[in-house]
Symmetry: C2
Subunit: 195 residues, 2 copies
């Protein structure tokens, strides 16, 4: 079931034979994370790529004043990672933890490299995946530089429609870059305007 989600996800961009599917399944290992459990902490090296199958993970940094800044949420069907740490095998600057009890599939970087050799069309899959993420990050960065908090909140709702009811408001606030108090006040004012 867990691997089924991964295979469906890959099938959106490339076609695999049964043998190739089995080879992939054999290398992606399942792991359970309890709510608040860490997958990665600052200073760790991220040695595995992570694909979320149930629950939800988030990546974030903690600044020198102790404030958390959420980079990404990963509900089922999403990948999550500190890309610089994973690519260059250097210490991470991000934390990744589970917002809820979650299950993920992990593949070692070395085994993923082996998969690229054995199944070259996976290069295509991960190219498309990386380019789509890149497009999202480009626009999030521009949004952060140029949009109001309310506009950033509306964009969040578009990117993560399934999370808006699910997440505690303080997590959403940390993603859009405002305090929980500010977000709460802003949403009340918006509601008042509409009523």
């Amino acid at each position: 079931m867990q691997h089924e989600l991964l295979l469906q996800h890959i099938a959106r961009h490339i076609s695999l034979t049964n043998e190739e599917e089995e080879q992939i399944i054999s290398l992606f290992k399942s792991k359970k994370l309890k709510k608040k459990q860490f997958l990665l902490q600052e200073g760790d090296v991220q040695r595995q790529a992570a694909f979320v199958t149930t629950g939800c993970l988030r990546s974030y940094s903690i600044d020198k004043n102790g404030f958390e800044h959420v980079l990404q949420f990963a509900p089922p069907g999403w990948w999550i990672g500190d890309m610089r740490s994973f690519i260059h095998q250097q210490p991470a600057t991000l934390y990744i933890d589970a917002i809820d009890d979650s299950e993920i599939l992990l593949v070692q970087k070395t085994e993923l490299e082996q998969l690229y050799t054995n199944i070259p069309k996976l290069e295509r899959f991960f190219r498309i995946l990386a380019e789509n993420s890149l497009a999202t990050y480009q626009h999030r960065l521009i949004d952060n530089l140029s949009l109001s908090a309310m506009e950033r909140y509306n964009n969040f709702c578009q990117i993560y429609p399934s999370l808006i009811e699910y997440l505690p408001q303080k997590q959403v606030a940390s993603y859009i870059g405002v305090t929980p108090e500010f977000l709460s006040k802003m949403l009340s004012q918006e509601k008042a305007k509409k009523s």
Copy 2:
């Protein structure tokens, strides 16, 4: 010479035969841009991927108050684009123009797709390229959320060491997300601290 830079750039990640190199060269067309000339404007669809060989380009958005927000600079050896527009062939939200007289190589999206079919290892090249960019964007986003303007300025100097003397200060200010006046004052204070 222009194509030589592109081939050197590709050779950092994959090996091409002479025939493959020729095929690539035949599809990347040279274009000159004068200082301030646009490659892309908001609302256009980006139909070509762009690789800079001389000069410097920048991508930016203009917010509803008329302020520019620089997403990226592209000196020689860099790619530049509105990824969402290019991938999905939808209207761009970014502007791209030349900061200086520049030369670029352009390849049509449809021809790039053809190259992926003819030379599958290009998938690998562009996967690595996209993943590296993704790592850079992840950290820039976190930096924008969590670092001071001086720390963002120092990161800019690390990412673009060749540009720090070359660019007008207002461009750098727009990249790190402060006004030119603020940047100028901040750098004077920093200089005074060090002397």
